[in-house]
């Protein structure tokens, strides 16, 4: 995996290797936004998930994607804190936690989720994302898969002693040199 910057030092994303290839895919943020703004993908997704009103579903997810665009734009223009978007994944989590797992949503009506790890204050690493199809993440294959990914990245960071922003930068430099 590779870590790439989206916006300054605040928002980064993982880029995974393409299956069966040594080449890297585009970062998770770009890959997911490409899918979430793709009408034929959303249409097929709704059909394969037995959604009753396909058109309503597609239009709602396209609308959600525009809200994410607006959020990133707002982040750039107004420098808003990322905690406003990334909420605790575990609703019972309280206080400070190292490498806290987070979910990104623009509102409670948002049907799209980014998953991220909080590296430090106002510094997040996106590990993936999914269309929210079930109340509990464990109840849908896609969100189950995303939970595996976020835990895998967290374990990877912990194994490399990343506990805060400083150690994160240090680890990134090592990873970059290793990739060369």
């Amino acid at each position: 995996m590779k870590i790439v910057d989206i916006f300054a030092k605040k928002l980064c994303s993982i880029a995974y290797k393409i299956k069966g290839s040594d080449a890297y895919d585009i970062c998770e943020y770009d890959r997911l936004l490409d899918l979430w703004t793709d009408v034929s993908y959303l249409y097929q997704y709704a059909k394969s998930n037995n959604v009753k009103d396909i058109n309503k579903f597609v239009k709602a997810r396209l609308k959600d994607a525009t809200l994410i665009d607006d959020f990133l734009n707002e982040l750039i223009e107004d420098n808003i804190p990322l905690d406003k978007y990334f909420h605790q994944l575990d609703n019972n989590e309280t206080g400070f936690k190292l490498l806290s797992l987070r979910k990104g949503k623009t509102s409670k009506y948002d049907g799209l989720r980014f998953y991220a790890i909080k590296i430090d204050d106002d510094c997040f690493l996106i590990t993936g994302g999914a269309i929210k199809m079930s109340f509990k993440n464990k109840d849908h294959q896609d969100t189950r898969e995303e939970m595996k990914k976020i835990k895998m990245v967290k374990a990877f960071l912990q194994k490399n002693d990343v506990v805060d922003i400083e150690s994160f930068y240090e680890f990134r430099t090592e990873l970059e040199n290793y990739d060369k």
Binding site: V4, D5, K9, D30, Y41, D69, T173
Partner: protein, 166 residues
């Protein structure tokens, strides 16, 4: 002279900054582009959805549509993604081949073709004064025509007894 930064003497933040330029994604420019083109994208997405719905109704594959439109399947794939800036030619072709409303002309033509007979046509014979209909005109049009051109009936009023009485 070696212009490469000496990684050993750099602080963590400097190391991080040195990485930014190399690792910067095109995310921000892509986002700004989507926001700038939002109105156009919305139209492309609506057309894509109409096309996908119609393909399902007809039981057509994207390949079959490509053949009917005389374009490549890759072109159809781009249309149904809802991201393409479709040319007027493509929009007209889609409207004609799939009979779906894309341009205003679709509804304008429908209005011109409109008649009350179309509403009454419920897949059964309507016997409403059928004998008065002349070929090619709608029932109501004919009725209105008759109504407006009819000469008013002249009613002869004889002098009333009331006048005589006064």
């Amino acid at each position: 002279m070696n212009l490469e930064p000496n990684l050993k003497t750099m602080t963590n933040k400097e190391k991080f900054k040195s990485l930014i330029s190399k690792e910067k994604t095109s995310t921000i420019s892509r986002t700004k582009e989507r926001i700038k083109n939002r109105a156009r994208l919305k139209e492309s997405q609506d057309i894509a959805l109409k096309v996908l719905n119609k393909l399902d109704d007809l039981g057509w594959s994207q390949r079959k549509l490509a053949k009917a439109l005389e374009v490549t399947p890759q072109q159809v794939n781009k249309i149904v993604k809802g991201k393409e800036n479709l040319t007027l030619e493509t929009q007209v072709k889609l409207q004609q081949v799939l009979d779906i409303p894309i341009l205003a002309s679709y509804y304008e033509n429908k209005i011109q073709e409109f008649s009350f007979e179309n509403i009454l046509n419920l897949d059964m014979e309507v016997y409403l004064k059928k004998s008065f209909l002349s070929a090619g005109t709608s029932f109501f049009k004919e009725e209105f025509k008759v109504g407006f051109t009819k000469q008013p009936k002249m009613v002869l009023v004889e002098e009333s007894n009331y006048l005589e009485a006064s």
